[in-house]
Subunit: 505 residues, 2 copies
């Protein structure tokens, strides 16, 4: 590496920690078959890249597997190199990797798909773990031994608290300006737990870094890796239309006096619709917006610079190449407007409910009564996982789900009589938006929801067959949510057999 200890003193500012520096080649040998690793990282930011790559290299030579606990999906080292080396036998709480997904769907990797706020509780309750090694990327170690995380916090605080051993990857190549944007608060054990002392999103109630028990630090390795950029999610015509409809809904809420132009704290997923929504806010009447989300993406920085967003917190950055390049100066400029928190806090039911967050998330399919599938294809094959969508949808002031009305060039209707899998029941869904419009389900009974979803959100080519199903179900079965069980999945089955959900084709 060519790094000598003297060079590190500005970054590892505590002498006792400095003594712990070891070569990465040594540290990776500590990992044994069957061990549980709690690894920093949430989406693409914050994984201990160098360590995981070296571990993956070792995995190509040796036959061993580990249980991998993370914040969410990971960058190219965990959800790339490690997967390719077939190192993962057990994974939680979320993943988004095509190879790993295949292994999970074959039943070869045990995968626990969890609400992202709950992994920390499972660890405290000894349901999962114990963690043999926490492996955590750091920007710096302070004089008094606080670990300054990098571009995500995720589950790092609880991994560090619960792990038997800690390996710190100090990355010399990260913006030093990460220091100061973190707010680390760890709830006490249930039974002796205090209220989370957040009243307003910008309240700072934690520490600037993660407190570390020096005795548990087995080694510190030094790296020089870059943050991993995310792809650009440019809107297309359909996602732009969805975003427009969503913005119209928010506008309508202002007209009705139920929201002000400051809206309420916004949680948004990542992707083309989310970007189009954020982009649309730039030229809207909305002002002094607060973001209280899982990730801070490009659009949030754009809105801060446009003076539309006044404050944003999340548990991780998710930035394109352009914003990764400017991150150092962006952080310097906006340090008082940006904060990262543990995912246990960003996704905590207590916080989401108290703040009254407006959340929007993406659905894979939705049934005519407003139940949402956000994870499984055909009821069997998992895509990613429920992630934080349940934490937010259940507790949000307004829970919005977006989806294009069709998939596979119109061969699949995303609105179906009966979803093949449910992640969010209609109790937790307020607004559904497609490119055709939106339905405000609040205060509607299931039959009213069905009528409106069919007429306002469904693609027109599917409406007639949906009306037929709904009418027949009312006639034949009746009930609060009329269904004809033997036809409930007929659209899915027709697609499996004929390549389209259009029943007449």
């Amino acid at each position: 590496m060519g790094v000598v200890l003297e060079d590190l003193q500005d970054t590892i500012r505590n002498k006792e920690f400095l003594k712990k520096v070891v070569p990465v080649e040594e540290a990776v040998t500590w990992i044994q078959d069957g061990m549980v690793l709690g690894v920093s990282g949430f989406a693409l930011f914050g994984e201990p890249k160098f360590f995981l790559q070296k571990l993956a290299e070792r995995g190509k030579q040796e036959n061993f597997k580990v249980d991998l606990y993370t914040g969410a999906s990971m960058g190219p080292s965990a959800d790339g190199a490690m997967v390719e080396s077939d190192l993962i036998g057990f994974r939680l709480p979320y993943q988004a990797n095509p190879i790993l997904r295949k292994q999970i769907n074959k039943g070869k990797v045990t995968y626990i798909d969890q609400h992202l706020s709950q992994t920390s509780e499972s660890l405290r309750q000894d349901i999962i773990g114990p963690i043999d090694y926490a492996v955590i990327e750091a920007t710096a170690i302070t004089e008094d031994g606080l670990l300054i995380p990098s571009g995500s916090i995720g589950n790092s605080p609880i991994f560090i608290e619960q792990a038997k051993n800690i390996i710190i990857e100090v990355n010399l190549n990260l913006p030093k300006e990460y220091e100061g944007i973190h707010d680390i608060y760890i709830p006490e054990l249930q039974g002796e737990r205090n209220p989370i002392p957040m009243k307003h999103p910008s309240d700072r109630f934690g520490e600037k870094g993660i407190r570390i028990d020096l005795d548990k630090v087995r080694g510190i390795i030094i790296s020089n890796e870059n943050d991993s950029p995310s792809p650009l999610f440019e809107p297309n015509e359909i996602t732009q239309e969805i975003a427009n409809n969503l913005l119209s809904f928010l506008d309508e809420e202002i007209e009705l006096g139920r929201l002000t132009e400051e809206l309420a704290p916004i949680q948004s997923g990542v992707g083309s619709v989310a970007n189009a929504v954020l982009s649309g806010m730039k030229h809207s009447r909305f002002k002094n917006i607060v973001i209280a989300s899982e990730v801070i993406q490009d659009g949030v920085f754009d809105l801060i610079e446009a003076g539309v967003v006044k404050f944003a917190y999340a548990t991780a950055f998710s930035l394109s190449e352009k914003r990764v390049a400017s991150l150092k100066s962006d952080l310097a400029k906006h340090q008082d407007k940006i904060m990262l928190r543990p995912q246990e806090i960003s996704n905590h039911p207590e916080v989401i409910r108290r703040l009254g967050i407006i959340s929007f998330n993406t659905a894979i399919e939705i049934d005519i009564y407003g139940n949402v599938n956000s994870t499984h294809i055909n009821g069997t094959h998992i895509m990613n996982g429920i992630g934080g969508s349940g934490d937010f949808a259940r507790n949000a002031k307004i829970s919005i789900f977006v989806t294009p009305s069709t998939a596979k060039d119109g061969k699949i209707s995303t609105i179906v009589p009966f979803v093949s899998h449910i992640d969010h029941t209609n109790h937790d869904v307020d607004i559904i938006v497609t490119e055709y419009g939106y339905v405000d389900m609040r205060g509607l009974a299931p039959r009213e929801i069905a009528e409106q979803l069919i007429e306002n959100c469904m693609h027109p080519i599917y409406r007639e067959q949906a009306r037929r199903y709904f009418e027949e179900a009312k006639q034949v079965s009746g009930g609060n949510t009329p269904h004809i069980l033997h036809k409930a999945h007929a659209w899915h089955l027709h697609f499996q057999k004929h390549g389209t959900m259009l029943l007449d084709e």
Copy 2:
């Protein structure tokens, strides 16, 4: 009534309120067709019995309907007399009345089945309402104008806060000892909301009654009604076995060091299993138990008297005839051990998560991957509603669902390949208990859950056909949750056609 104002001074202790007393016959005429009523009551306790009966009598003569908002299901006046007079056009957030259920399932009554913690938020957000009249039963009005509720609090505080007009039914026949057991706390609007200041279940942080805006009080009526007792739910052999299995699970958790003999605050539903569990606790190693639930039933008083329960709070009583008869002296004896709170607090995600509650609720059916249906028969006909089960299951430290393994003399297996309706996804279910055993789903992947549910919880006569489905699904479809969509509801369809889910009969 034969009551003169002088007699009332001990009960209505504020002179300004005393001036508002009117005959019930006058008050019921204020209710117009299409009005929204927010009525006190949760389960059988606390409804304004006299007013509702008189309103129902008027409803027999006149043709009008109202929107009825309540705490949960109601006693014989609302969910009896009013239903029989066909007075209800719209109902939320929960009901359990056979006639009303029929009207809902015919699509004749609009019914919004809500998480019980969320009605208050919907009102604050102007999604439902506005409430024309809050009609609230009271034990007393204090000198400084606090309304002392009776045997439930439910949604009364938010109804009173949000209503345009208030009618108070002062019931002279209730135990005066109700006064002092209530703790009324109303969260602020989202955005300016403080943490709910409860750290321990017995913390008192509210007022002893509900603050009333005198100007909104249109009238006070005087009644002399009795509290309504609930049926006795005696355990049978099967529910006793379920309770034993549940108690074994708790015992095992103590052995594993994950719980102490004080367990964690307990939420339990009502019914035969719940009573058997409470009864079983009397002779267990458990001690210093805290109840933090929706309802306080007979068994809780028994456990207080046995020295096993040290404190209990809920939003309502649900008591048999025997305990209704002794309530006056029970309250006097145990006033420091019993507390009623608004349902927004008892069911609040913030509180449930912070305290780390152990919840147990009843399922109608459960699929092999642990998804729970607790509301709909055959996917179409609603029984009661989700009630508070979602508030507790999502946020509990340990979320337990109980069900006998079969229904209808074995013709229905309550564990099926694919539930016909989902209220609780397997993310929110930890333990499933039947009379055959329990499965601890925590840390298990879906396929592992299926194997264990089939072998440990399912009735033996259904196991072979379940194994066949599961094996075929793994072979033919694969995936994280293997299913064969065209056979997913075959058991339900077989029952519809042949009167049994046993496929070979």
